[in-house]
Structures are given as C-alpha cells and as structure tokens.
Amino acid sequence: MSFREKSAWISFVSILIVFGYYFTTVARAMLGLRQESNLFAVLVIAIAVLVVLEVVLHIVVAIQSPRDARSPRDERERMFSLKATQIGFYVLIIAALAGIFTMHLGAGRRDVGNAVLLAIVIAELTKYGAEIVYFRRGA
C-alpha cells in the first residue's frame, strides 16, 4: 500500500472516529440525554484530537516509508485526488443545502451550524472514501 493510500485511510478513519463521537454527543444532547451547554468545548476538543491523530499517524507512516512520504504525488495520485475532490464537492453542495434547509424547518442557529458541519464531514469522508476506492481499483 502506497504512502498516499495510507494517508487517505488515516484521514478517513480519524474523521470517522472523531466526528462520529462529536455527532453522537450532539444527538444525545438533542434528545435530552446530555447537557447541551458544553457542546462547543466538545467540538474544540474533537478538532484538537483530530489534528493530533492525523499528525501522529502520518509521522508513524512516514517513518515506515520515508522515501514515499518525501516524494511528491505522481500524475496518477494527483488524478485520484482531483476526481475524489470533485465527488466530495458535489456531496458538500447537496449536504450543505440540506443543512441550510433545516433553518426553514425551525432549527436554531446552533443546529444549522451543526448541520453544515455535518455536511463538511460527510463531504470529507466521501472524498477520502473515493480516493481509497480509486487506490484499491488501481485506476
């Protein structure tokens, strides 16, 4: 497995775990199973954990294959990245519009903010997921 594919896996799994936890917490707060006041702190901690996870895991993978990590993306890897970003962009537009639409269903400011954040997370997961699929298929 190439360094870029490992990198895509790291980002995909890190985002899934960290924001999976965050949105579970949001859902519990919306259902009244948890205090709502500290959600901002949970978000800040989630972002910090995501950054640390990504940096540490990328360093570990880079140590295992330093030459791969140092070399720039080649044309095939750039193509995968561009195609995956394009798919992620369409998902972002649709999910963000759906998130904004919740405003018209009576959602508050914070809920709309969380809906847009969810749209970004889904788009990122789609992008990294698509990149992984391209890497697995080989083209």
Partner: protein, 74 residues
Amino acid sequence: MADAEIDNNIRRLRFEHGEMTQQELADKVGVTRQTVNAIELGKYSPSLEVAFRIALVFKLPIDQVFSYRGKLKR
C-alpha cells in the same frame, strides 16, 4: 486484464533489461511503483510525457513500448 485501450510491453522489457524491478523503473520515470504496476496491468493509461519517459528508459521508440488497439470515432 486490460481496462484501457492501450497495450504495453513493459513487463517483458523490464526483464530484458536486467530484470529491472518496477521500483527501479518507477524511480527512473519519476512515478510510484504502484503507478508502474497499474500501467503494466493496463489499469491506467499514462500521460504522453510518462509514456515517453518509459520509452526513454528502454531506449526504444514509444510505439515499441505502447500500442493502441482502439478505433477511430468515424
């Protein structure tokens, strides 16, 4: 298995050139080993520039490394 309409002789040429590994060819061309593998298997059609660089490694004209089996669109 070949998804692309471009065939190539890279595998044979590598062995005729001192059993050159995919990694050695990749380093000379400036792509990853996985990309060389995808080209060899016909899963990925390289850019013209990479195709020329591969031909240059084997010191052959490009049409002795790659061939096109597609047809013209009328």
